[in-house]
Symmetry: C2
Subunit: 428 residues, 2 copies
Amino acid sequence: MTILAGIVVTGTEVLTGRVVDRNGPWCSEQLRELGVEHQSTVVVGDRPADILAALRWFEAQGCSLIITSGGLGPTADDLTATVVGEFQGRAMVVDEPLHVRITEILRRLTARWPNVDQDAIALGNLKQATIPEGATILEPIGTAPGLVVPSVGDGPTVVVLPGPPSELIPMWQVAAASEPFRSAIEGSAAIDQSMLRLFGIPESEIAATMRDAVDAGVDLDALEITTCLRRGEIEIVTRFAPEKTDVYEQFASFVAARHADTLFSTDGSTIDEQFATLLKGPPLLSLAVAESCTGGLVAARLTERPGASEYLRGGIVAYSNAAKVSLAHVAPQMIETNGAVSEEVAVALAEGARTALGADLGIGVTGIAGPDGGSEDKPVGLVWCAASLGGDRLAVRKLQLPGSRQVIRDRTTTVVLHLAASLLGSES
Amino acid sequence: MTILAGIVVTGTEVLTGRVVDRNGPWCSEQLRELGVEHQSTVVVGDRPADILAALRWFEAQGCSLIITSGGLGPTADDLTATVVGEFQGRAMVVDEPLHVRITEILRRLTARWPNVDQDAIALGNLKQATIPEGATILEPIGTAPGLVVPSVGDGPTVVVLPGPPSELIPMWQVAAASEPFRSAIEGSAAIDQSMLRLFGIPESEIAATMRDAVDAGVDLDALEITTCLRRGEIEIVTRFAPEKTDVYEQFASFVAARHADTLFSTDGSTIDEQFATLLKGPPLLSLAVAESCTGGLVAARLTERPGASEYLRGGIVAYSNAAKVSLAHVAPQMIETNGAVSEEVAVALAEGARTALGADLGIGVTGIAGPDGGSEDKPVGLVWCAASLGGDRLAVRKLQLPGSRQVIRDRTTTVVLHLAASLLGSES
């Protein structure tokens, strides 16, 4: 039985793009794990009529569950609870025990602001304790409570969550365990999802492979397959009913046989995870980076991972030629002879990072991210990447990337991880 | 006259969050500049019925214009053009001249893939040249044409754009200049938008200021004000009809008078822009960074800006103590005595970056981003930031940040830019 759900993301700052929505995608993944079909996400501004229209649309589409995020703050433009109350035909009432609990949270929070306006705080506090009658309260993580608001009649149950992901995420589990949430999704059946990742082929090749799989008798109609090009990699995501696992296995084997050289992940792992695993060994290998056009992005991507200090010694952002010489010990004559963007300098940066930081593996990147600085000989998008384990244990790659400064910089970080991982892989 | 528009973002990869949507927000801003009211954005997967439902919903809401992004690729799950054709009651036809032009583009593109499947390419090509009869063609930037598809009757005009922002953005201008687009938004009136940015106060203070502004006689009902906390800064965005500019000026002056110490931007400029302007002088000041817990993010943020090489010498990612000592010349005894996360080491990193790279201004960052590595004395979220122009021309700040590893790292980059900019500002 298919249970449908809709997500309403509120906030003019999200609608107009000043804030990137992380809640819609996160909730979507949670719904999938519960076997609930996520119909769509509506992003609306802080206008009550638009929030109400979105709730009514999901009801008309047959959704049993609606998730809202945002609009629970203390300011006057935060109106989600009131709108949901109206939608569900429930009066708004002050919950006194909740009021007391929020007051206590605020007393602690505002202790660090010496000159805070206590009247303003009290007003916001009362607003946040005013909820639709009969709603299940989800205890505040910040100052805003979440709510699970059942319909008075047959309509959808509405789960009202705060906007900050740090509050929404821990509140989700409590919401999902609540009685009205459970009964709204009763009868849902879990859907499995698997992902394949490939690096270094065009998307049209996957389309051809899928047609050939059908010709070879794989029942692709039993699978929901989406492909997407992301940060220079192709992701093939397949959703399927657990009883169709064998069909998925056939499809995955077909892809693996056809694209053995470019398929690098069949278990959902990212190149970042795979590279970290290779470094952790055994034997444990230490790493150092010297990067020019990426300006710190390679190091930043490596240090996104908790525990990166286990293998990462450090990095050099060799943005100027002076920095290449003084920190990464690139010979000035080499830069003069070959130019800062050259195979020789990329290798010297990798070597320089290794030796300056006493690491096993060195990564070097130099290129032209644009929009200026290109020439006929060396156009914007030209990037040299190198990974070195010392001596001739070396991998080098030349890129000519299309796109904006941001795309060129970001795409380079992906390529350099693949290059370094394949050097380690070829040695093990 | 209010002209309403809706945006439909298609793609299961966007709905489920594997790809972050940039198109909805970008188109929203373009609509605002044209004086069109953006009602909401619907994000749907690659299911034709859901795309159709979203189009019908916007029609029912009274939208004169609908923008779609995505679903124009060569694979079988890309169906937007067909669905829009059905919605507009127009037959799908192959446009032969377009077919020839796409063939030519593909011939050039696939030259670099030696073993590409030409039959697969040809099939995708024919699909991309099949369009609703009577639609205006927007020439492909990649391989997918965009479309402006007028309603046969009174309904909305639909603008069909490709998913990759690098294709959608240049295509927008052509779409907006087309006759059916112009006539769909005829009678719209431009809306102005202004932004104030504050750093270092809680959002509830702004709520109080707004109430006081009303009490002082400022007609806030004439303005649409939204406040949002973003990367540690508060943004107050106000939209207003051009004839209400004087009301906005009153409001902005009221905020400026109340929050002189925390209001840092009244012209939309970011702290990144302001810091770059301060560095460019005259006199031009050079910059170097040594960062530990941010692991390259400060340098990466500085090098996001084209032309950063004018002032940025380079950076040191001093992730290990060895790197702090060898690259940033921090004394090992200092680390032993005070710990790597300490005021002394932050200052030594700033000084070390300055001297190692021969820069005027040095920035130092050291902290505990978590999730592990915290102690009672030095919990996760403790960060020391320093900016130094040499000697006692120094600014230091201690932070205790809440949130995840990602939030702590990101927030630190904002604080350190404010710290360094205020040091430069106080000297000029």
